[in-house]
Symmetry: C2
């Protein structure tokens, strides 16, 4: 490949680029009076080499058939922006002017809003997982593409990195090259003093080839990268570097990890780098924000969602099977079909319980076993979702969301298209007990601004929501318990959600009308609410029951109607103070809707026992609801 | 040590115990028709050996001067309960009768409510961190004690395990022995098929000695444990075992990972184990719940909290420095003082930013550098908090809570006594940008039932809250931004929180009275609210301002007073839909308090820039508040 041919002319150009980019990076930090200059300088030639080597251009960077570059040590953003400017992705002066400037896309840690940035990082230790996710998606799409990942040495102890290494090896992802900036300095001092890590042995133990290079010698870096491309295993190149390289007073000094050189020191730095005082030129640009970032559209997918399955009201089916059966249908309809977006189903050793085993059988090629490594799996699947596949990760709620919460938050920040199927949510985990009860799924996703959350009310809705979710653009979570239940009835013996009507995100459904009190029942709680409604009706009390399956999207018409009764009960298999009730009652308070509220949910850690017993002990039974309605009506 | 002397008599007793305990374990699962029998059988002799070897008895298990046993693969609880019964901690028949029974302490995954269980697990991969936490606390207390950790092989890929290994080695924790049940089977099949892990190489690379043993041969296990005790590094013993050992139809079969043997199969199993049908005897106990668990009291600490520092209203101080200075005071007053509970301050490479550097300088022995390994650090510090020390972990909000959320939840379930100091919360992170903005700290801890959360309003309150937190029993989180601010004034030029009055958890403070509108201002937002109040007063609008620093504890008097104005604004540097406002407005709705609410908080991911700019762009400025009050009053 011609790119490896580092002849003298090219070498000179690259050396000149390194000096220019170093000047830009130092200038950014000086202008913002904030940022990380020294790590940017030690990583500079690694950035230049990776972006030179990768088939990643301003023209193709919005597409998905190309090489990828992932930056894990996101605080070295000045180097990234400088190199992207050098390669024509962004304007160099705008990058300097806007760096860490409110309203600009040039954030302190790299974000995808900047063209050429493939993963927004900041939390250390997640970049390799993103790189592996891209590598996996490219491989499954049959593309002969390469992924480059840039990392720091300070982040090497993060456990998620080891998980990602193993996923790469287990799935034969070879077209990935990692460059580690071994500058040996982190905030608190020398890396070996802060937390010793046997980097080489660990990468080798996980099946990677380890090469070494001089991170300030382009010939050495290119030679290693060329060697890496020819190997049959994924490769990490440990690049020895000097923190602050090229600026005498920053070299090998921990204090310039996160400190600007300003005034005379800035000018000295630029002189040492052989660069002009860029800040003078930048000042002439004026004080406005120059670049607010590209818009990140999630590419359309091509998928046949088939026809919904309908479960009769006499059957007893669990929502997770409603999901799993629909997923298997989608697999059969789409996997291996020309022109369809590949569906990848991720598992962390729970396929039987989370009902993805049928899919795995129908589409073994689309089934990705990641072992008990949830942190990395969340990011691998999240990055894959940005690369022309539809990833579905099914796991217990505590593992897929509570453990991997920060990863799911970063999937949101990265505008992912992940489909997260959580089973065993709420108290409905069977006998596993309190550690396994995911009573925070509404609350956790409510902290993000992009995630959609569907808590299906019954298996018919679970089926329809699954088909909708895979075709929808953006991160979607389905949250389901473990128990079987009868599908909701339309009152005439037919399934309420039985028709051909597609799932519509944001609709609450009036299951029963009444004027004495309203119950907003989240997900499978709707059945219990309907049982209670029958009993109350026998006593002459008529309640409204709304099935709420989209807790993050307040259906204002339903809310107004509920509040019109004067008494609203939020009934949910979720922590009572942080769930749907808190969101919907806040919306009522904001809209000035009056009425007294009651929050029926989980108010202590739950017991270990059959779900029905655990619900009853928590007061979340139809009897409990009857009693609560009567208490409210007594005033 | 006499315990290693496994003479023939003792060996016979142990073999008999293994058969009896295996029978108990199989009976528990049969009775509950749920649970994990096969892994319990493969781990059985490891449990027996560890509890035999450890100086851990029914008499000393509530104290902290003793050996510790931590179970990481918590789903093998039947083996744990059986061995604890064998050693007199619990009643064997009650364990069988109550296993996975609603209301009983014999949960599906082990919990500390059972005497002899030192850490409640369930989420895999966390047990080693807990063991290291105990080892660290024992070492810092100068006790010659030992920690045993039992693990499964399926969990070996979890990244947190590697982090814990390194923390142990970095801090010279040698009195720890890990027994890994290498039964080679996890839910989805053979371990090497699900996710290959080079277990031996990884433990060695992290500096541990690796021994091997036959997990079904007591002599082999004891020999390895004896060898381990003599070594100068921490030791892991890889114990080769057979899944389902002793019951022919369970041996080496993945399907008995989590399945009960009932009816004839149960009787066959008991026959093969040479045990009577225990279920018959258990049936005679009747149907009530027998054992609800021990009460877990957090031991009193001995600490001199000194006298508060008071910052004058003309000074500008950041809350994190208020915390850091108080912490340094506490260090100077207590570290090395005879009879005082040791304070351990944990750091993940951010001491300068989180203001623990002064403590580190004053008390180097109490400063625990854990490197960039937040998941493990959270559990290490959490477990240490149950072992006679006061751990303080200071970190950025996104790292200490959002990344380690599940660990903090387990610290709550485990009734810990951790002091978590989060800095850089909200948008107040300087220029780091959206990935570093922890806008969910209220929401995350609101999902737990034990954590207390204090968001100090100013540095004077931060000082007092810090002193209170270290002396208080239970997990306490302090959440603070990065910016400096003037201490709140009492209106007469003196600091509002300046007196000798101790911090009282749960109080909101009326900073200013007025009848047109009320503002509930979380933490440092109080200053902005007071600025707005001045401006509004100039326009003839008088608002109430409450400083809220305990968002999880609704001060009902304050709330009623606020609602009496008819217009309440929740002002917080937090996701608007999940923060203090949602909790307090829900409480108002529940109490039937009327009034229109407005939720001023973070409504999209924030910008990267100086905090004041970022606040302004989000509308969280005093001008923004003035405008919102006027909007509300217009109706």
């Amino acid at each position: 490949m011609v790119k490896y041919d580092l002849n003298d002319v090219k070498l000179n150009e690259m050396e000149e680029a390194a000096r220019r980019c170093s000047g830009l990076a130092v200038s950014m930090v000086a202008r913002a009076k904030s940022g990380h200059p020294a790590g940017s300088l030690s990583s500079m030639k690694l950035y230049l080499a990776a972006y030179d080597m990768a088939d990643l251009t301003p023209e193709n960077c919005d597409g998905t058939d190309r090489d990828y570059v992932v930056i894990s040590h996101g605080h070295t953003s000045p180097a990234a922006y400088a190199v992207l400017a050098h390669n024509g992705f962004v304007d160099p002066l705008e990058a300097v002017a806007d760096f860490r400037r409110c309203g600009s896309a040039f954030q302190g840690h790299v974000e995808r809003a900047i063209p050429g940035i493939d993963w927004g990082s900041g939390n250390l230790g997640q970049g390799l997982s993103a790189g592996v996710g891209y590598g996996l998606a490219l491989k499954k799409r049959g593309l002969d593409r390469h992924v480059y990942v840039l990392m720091g040495d300070g982040e090497q102890p993060k456990g998620q990195i080891a998980e990602a290494r193993r996923i790469a090896v287990a799935h034969g992802i070879k077209d990935i090259t990692v460059l580690v900036d071994m500058n040996d300095i982190q905030i608190s001092g020398k890396v070996e003093d802060v937390m010793p890590v046997n980097v080489e042995a660990l990468w080798k133990a996980d099946g990677w080839a380890v090469l070494e290079a001089d991170g300030h010698d382009f010939r050495s870096i290119y030679r290693a990268m060329e060697e890496a491309r020819g190997m049959d295993v994924p490769v990490v190149i440990l690049c020895s570097t000097v923190m602050g390289k090229g600026v005498s007073f920053m070299e090998d000094r921990p204090d310039y990890h996160g400190k600007a050189a300003t005034g005379d020191l800035y000018r000295q730095a630029m002189e040492e780098l052989g660069q002009p005082d860029i800040l003078v030129e930048v000042a002439s640009l004026g004080d406005r924000v120059h670049y607010r970032g590209r818009s990140l559209e999630i590419p359309a997918v091509s998928i046949d969602i088939g026809s919904p399955r309908t479960y009769g009201v006499e059957e007893k089916v669990d929502n997770r099977s409603g999901f799993g059966n629909a997923l298997a249908d989608l697999g059969s309809l789409n996997c291996g079909v020309e022109g369809r977006t590949p569906i990848l189903v991720f598992d962390c050793d729970l396929a039987g319980s989370v009902k993805t085993a049928s899919f795995a059988k129908a589409c073994p090629d689309g089934f990705i076993q990641c072992g008990i490594q949830e942190h990395s799996t969340a990011t691998v699947a999240g990055a894959a979702s940005c690369c022309g596949v539809i990833p579905v990760w099914a796991d217990f709620g505590v593992f897929g969301l509570a453990e991997a919460y920060n990863q799911q938050r970063l999937n949101d920040i990265n505008h992912g298209n992940l489909k997260l199927a959580l089973t065993h949510v709420g108290l409905d985990v069977g006998e596993d007990g309190m550690t396994h009860q995911c009573i925070d799924y509404v609350s956790l996703l409510a902290n993000t601004f992009g995630w959609k959350l569907v808590v299906p009310s019954d298996p018919n809705q679970a089926d329809r929501a699954t088909r909708w979710a895979l075709a929808d653009r953006g991160n979607v979570c389905l949250a389901m318990g473990r128990s079987t239940l009868h599908p909701l009835s339309d009152g005439k013996g037919k399934p309420f959600f039985g028709g051909d009507e597609a799932f519509r995100y944001g609709d609450a459904h009036l299951l029963r009308d009444g004027g004495d009190c309203a119950v907003l029942a989240l997900g499978a709680m709707a059945s219990k609410a309907m049982e209670a409604a029958d009993r109350l009706s026998d006593k002459g009390i008529e309640i409204k029951v709304y099935a709420v399956s989209c807790p993050l999207e307040v259906d204002m018409d339903a809310l107004k109607d509920a509040c019109s009764t004067g008494n609203v009960i939020a009934l949910e298999d979720h922590c009572a103070r942080t769930g749907m009730g808190s969101i919907w009652s806040s919306a009522a308070a904001e809209a000035g809707l009056t009425g007294r509220w009651s929050f029926m949910g989980v108010k202590r850690y739950g017991d270990s026992g059959p779900s029905s017993d655990v619900y009853e002990a928590m007061g979340l039974s139809s009897e409990g609801l009857v009693a609560e309605v009567e208490r409210l009506l007594r005033g």
